[in-house]
């Protein structure tokens, strides 16, 4: 009988028994609802073993790439090991390589890449301050071309981690991070699909990673990046993005500011509103939304109502810390 390892215990599955049924039979408390491979409540990550195609049906490509599967639709043939989605992984120590100011309140933090660390640009990791307080930051770097991890940290007034990064952190310091996670990243397979990237503030960090990753993988469809800030001073990496726009016929960079008179080449208005207005119908497009939670929520609904399929909308909402 195949063995299912879950949270440190082993469960033996009977013939033709799904992983979900096996865990339920053993009185293990797990989420589930439809038991028919549809509602996705019973999604888990397979750490050892390979999910079948049917057990990944309907999941986003980004989740499939990370070995997520639906327990109700998987009958183990051999032994497998599974874990709950989004569980905390082992933390790692690394070194601060560089700290550079990108704008008045945003620092670029480059960390040495731990050995055997793997990630997709656009995923996020948790950075811990010396008191053990953690905050999530998205990855702007490329794992195949760059041997550092790049984060963009905005100084939040009273922020326990961003305040420490901005006032106390020094090059050479040792810091603790978690492995990267999240499903907001570029997946290959549809090089001709048009991409719409909308970010506010440091929502640019994951998008900068995703944009360069798409180009690196030979993306041929149009790529529109809308970066929004309340003021022109909040826009950053402007020259790097202009250079990408100039070097690639399919890359279009649209900086936007929502307050005051914009400088030349910058649009007046909110990035999400401008993008949805200017692009119009989004049927067949893939959308990435990163930044303030309210912006992500409203843009997701508007993009969907403009014709984008939900499975083509990837989002990384910045949820404010509560502690």
């Amino acid at each position: 009988m195949p063995k299912i390892v879950f949270e440190g215990r082993e469960y033996l599955a009977e013939e033709n028994e799904s992983v979900l049924d096996c865990l339920i039979r053993h009185d293990v408390s797990v989420n589930y609802s439809c038991r028919a491979g549809v509602c996705q409540s019973c999604m888990m990550m397979m750490e050892e073993g390979t999910p079948s195609e049917s057990s990944q049906k309907g999941l986003k490509d980004a989740l499939k790439a990370q070995n997520y599967f639906l327990m109700c639709s998987y009958v183990a043939e051999g032994d497998i090991s599974i874990s709950r989605p989004g569980k905390d992984f082992q933390s790692m120590e690394t070194e601060v390589l560089a700290l550079d100011r990108l704008s008045d309140d945003v620092l670029r933090v480059r960390l040495a890449r731990p050995e055997n660390d793997s990630y997709f640009p656009g995923q996020f990791l948790n950075l811990q301050n010396p008191d053990g307080v953690e905050r999530s930051y998205s990855l702007a770097s490329l794992p195949d071309d760059e041997d550092f991890l790049e984060l963009h940290v905005r100084h939040i007034p009273g922020g326990k981690v961003s305040g420490w990064v901005h006032t106390a952190l020094k090059v050479g310091d040792r810091v603790t991070i978690s492995p990267a996670t999240g499903d907001c990243f570029y997946t290959p397979g549809q090089p001709g699909q048009n991409l719409l990237l909308i970010g506010t503030g440091t929502g640019l960090a994951p998008l900068y990673g995703i944009l360069r990753d798409a180009l690196r993988q030979g993306h041929k469809g149009e790529i529109h990046l809308y970066h929004g800030s309340s003021t022109a001073e909040g826009l950053y990496l402007v020259d790097a993005l202009k250079a990408l726009d100039a070097a690639h016929a399919n890359v279009h960079y649209h900086p936007c500011v929502s307050q005051g008179t914009p400088p030349a080449g910058v649009t007046s208005g909110r990035a999400d509103q401008k993008a949805l207005e200017e692009i119009g119908k989004l049927g067949g497009w893939r959308i990435y939304l990163c930044g303030r939670e309210e912006m992500v929520k409203s843009a997701r609904q508007k993009a969907f109502l403009s014709g984008a399929s939900l499975k083509d909308i990837y989002a990384d909402p910045f949820v404010p810390a509560v502690d």
Partner: protein, 122 residues
Amino acid sequence: MSDSLYDRLGGEAAVDAAVDIFYRKVLSDDRINEFFDGVDMDRQAAKQKAFLTMAFGGPNNYTGEDMRKGHAHLVARGLNDSHFDAVVENLGNTLKELGVSDELIGEVAAIAETTRNDVLGR
């Protein structure tokens, strides 16, 4: 023996084709969209798919109890027959848009109808 309703509609591919159209209609319908304020759209779409699969006569394990529990918080916010009717109307219009015959639409509506009392907590 004739094919099941689910097969005649086109099975899972038909559900996949219908779910975005249906959810878009529901979200754009001012009679009912307030009930969807603030929900997680990905999870909601998965639920819509499960609902459509059931209404299409496809494989599902939902019970009346699930329907009651799943909608009790909405009933508390005033969910009533008029909202249920609006959802069924959006379902019919979705199928019409996909070129499904009136006869099959009637069969789907009849299945949806069987959940009315559970959904409305009666």
